[in-house]
């Protein structure tokens, strides 16, 4: 309880109302809320240090650059990268995956006839950039099934036999979520990376959901790329992190051309900046980038706090009970060996859109629809599901109130 109060008091937005009721924000997997420390820095930069970074010798530019680079250093520390040079700041996970996909293809590392391995539970951001590469370069997707749905054990586990078979068929790239934004099950990354590497296949991990709830050490994992979005982990929108192994970032060609990513420019020939700036063309969102520092510091403190871990367990137990209290609820990957507090579900006889609309009128903010992962939601959820996703600032009392609200909604709609 004390933990709940302490953490909640740092998020001003949690005090607001929706439909004249206390708001319960359960759409954290889409965007999380920002604590005071992040809001304060955002405000301070705009008021005191606003100037373009990396370019000028004046004081303001120096201060803004310093803050932005502190954001990069915080990201390096947060994922335990060997060097800050291995941290490319992008607009978000989507931008990062597009960058890797395009640069791998342009650099000749993926080409005609080559396979790209994904699981069927990926977010559109980890499907479409690769499909574009397939169209442009004649590669193809190798999609691995997951164990989810009514007629399965519903563990959310990746079919490892199919994974190994695809690796052996000689795919050129593996790109998989740490945690799917639909299933919430934690994928066995270490095993998956090791098996791909044994065959010399590079691995990108879409950590947009995973890093929010699990500690990540890229050196220990050994993955070639790991990416996540700031706005899902206490930071502002418009900034994302792409960790890339030095050897990859050095051999990949640049992505976008523009200012900041160049060495010397003449009309005959341009040389490019060293990593990571080689991949950061144009003026970066330096305000959001700087805010990675307080945001990730906040997340680290949370991860290290035993009270936070106990709280997460209590939240998940309460959510299991809440969903079990309504007849006809099907939870995606309910039997997951390890999950994050993210639950996608359907309710028999109730359209998710109707339920989300009514829940909003009771103050509960939930996601509904295909949630940017149409293939898996089509297969296991009939094209539309509801999703409740929690953060450490969620409370057990909120989850209990959610159970009541859900029961009421079902009564109204059935």
């Amino acid at each position: 309880m004390l933990f709940e109060q302490q953490i909640r008091s740092q998020f001003p937005i949690l005090g607001r109302e929706v439909a004249s009721r206390p708001m319960v924000y359960f759409d954290n997997a889409a965007t999380s809320q920002r604590p005071e420390c992040v809001l304060a820095l955002q405000d301070e930069i705009c008021r005191r240090h606003n100037a373009n970074i990396h370019r000028a010798v004046h004081t303001l530019s120096y201060e803004a650059t310093d803050l932005y680079e502190k954001g990069r250093a915080a990201a390096q520390k947060f994922v335990n990268a060997a060097s800050a040079d291995e941290i490319v700041l992008t607009a978000g996970t989507t931008a990062a995956i597009n960058l890797v996909a395009q640069c791998m293809a342009r650099g000749g590392f993926i080409g005609k006839g080559d396979g790209i391995l994904l699981t069927e539970a990926e977010h559109h951001s980890n499907i479409v950039p690769w499909q574009m590469v397939c169209e442009q370069y004649g590669a193809h997707l190798e999609v691995i099934p997951v164990d989810a749905g009514r007629d399965s054990a519903n563990t959310g586990a990746v079919d490892m036999e199919a994974y190994r078979a695809a690796l052996r068929r000689g795919v050129k790239m593996v790109s998989i979520a740490h945690v799917s934004n639909i299933l919430g099950a934690v994928n066995p990354l270490r095993e998956m990376v090791a098996e791909a590497h044994a065959l010399g296949i590079p691995v990108l991990i879409d950590g947009a959901q995973g890093i929010v709830h699990r500690k990540v050490d890229v050196q220990e994992l050994g993955c070639d790329f790991y990416t996540f979005s700031g706005h899902k982990i206490y930071a502002p929108t418009g900034i994302g992190v792409l960790y890339g192994k030095r050897e990859w970032l050095e051999k990949l060609p640049p992505y976008m051309g523009g200012g900041d990513m160049v060495g010397k420019v003449t009309f005959e020939k341009t040389t490019y900046a060293d990593i990571p700036l080689k991949f950061e063309a144009g003026t970066a969102n330096f305000v959001a980038g700087a805010c990675l520092a307080p945001a990730l510091e906040f997340a680290s403190q949370m991860a290290a706090d035993p009270a936070a871990q106990a709280h997460e367990k209590a939240l998940m137990a309460a959510m299991d009970a809440a969903l079990a209290s309504v007849e006809g609820v099907f939870v995606a990957a309910k039997e997951a060996a390890e999950r994050i507090p993210l639950y996608s579900f359907t309710i028999e006889g109730v359209h998710p859109l109707d339920a989300a609309t009514l829940l909003d009128k009771m103050g509960f903010e939930l996601r509904s629809g295909h949630m940017c992962a149409e293939p898996i939601v089509d297969r296991i959820g009939g094209g539309s599901m509801l999703r409740a996703s929690l953060m450490p600032y969620s409370t057990v009392a909120e989850v209990e109130a959610f159970a009541d609200a859900l029961q009421r909604v079902v009564k109204m709609l059935r």
Binding site: A19, S20, H351, P352, L353, D354, A356, T357, L358, K361, M362, S368, G369, H370, S384, M412, L413
Partner: protein, 140 residues
């Protein structure tokens, strides 16, 4: 026959009884259950209005007097309620009156959020489809 504006005023009065959001939606759900349903055979791709999260089918016919008649269906009940309100407003009206109508009741009863084009219910898309039916029958 009541005018489009009279019917809109009636609806606004009916909704004025409810202070609570949930009560408004409860009423909308009841209306959804009374929607004049499109025949199963009419639930074709041509009659489908692809909203973002719910599917809506809408059919339109013209009688001998040149008035239009609607039937619809959806997989979401609140969406059905919304379309039943639209149908009530436009049922039996002429294409010219439909095209000239100023639709204000949605805003007046506080359901404007449903009009946003990204809103899953796709009310804006339904209105567009009704207008396009009216246009084609006005010409034909």
């Amino acid at each position: 026959m009541k005018s489009i504006d009279d019917i809109q005023r009636e609806i606004v009065e009916e909704f004025a009884v409810y202070d609570e959001w949930l009560d408004k939606y409860e009423y909308l759900i009841d209306l959804g259950r009374e929607l004049p349903l499109a025949a199963e055979g009419d639930k074709t791709d041509a009659n489908l209005i692809e909203g973002c999260q719910s599917r809506v089918w809408l059919t339109c016919t013209r009688d001998e007097d040149g008035r239009l008649h609607f039937a619809a269906d959806s997989d979401a009940i609140i969406t059905k309620g919304l379309i039943s309100l639209l149908i009530r407003v436009f049922e039996g009206q002429t294409p010219a009156d439909i095209l000239a109508a100023d639709l204000h009741f949605i805003d007046d009863i506080g359901l404007k959020e449903n009009l946003s084009p990204t809103r899953a219910g796709g009310l804006a898309a339904m209105i567009k489809r009704i207008r396009s039916y009216a246009e084609s029958f006005a010409e034909g």
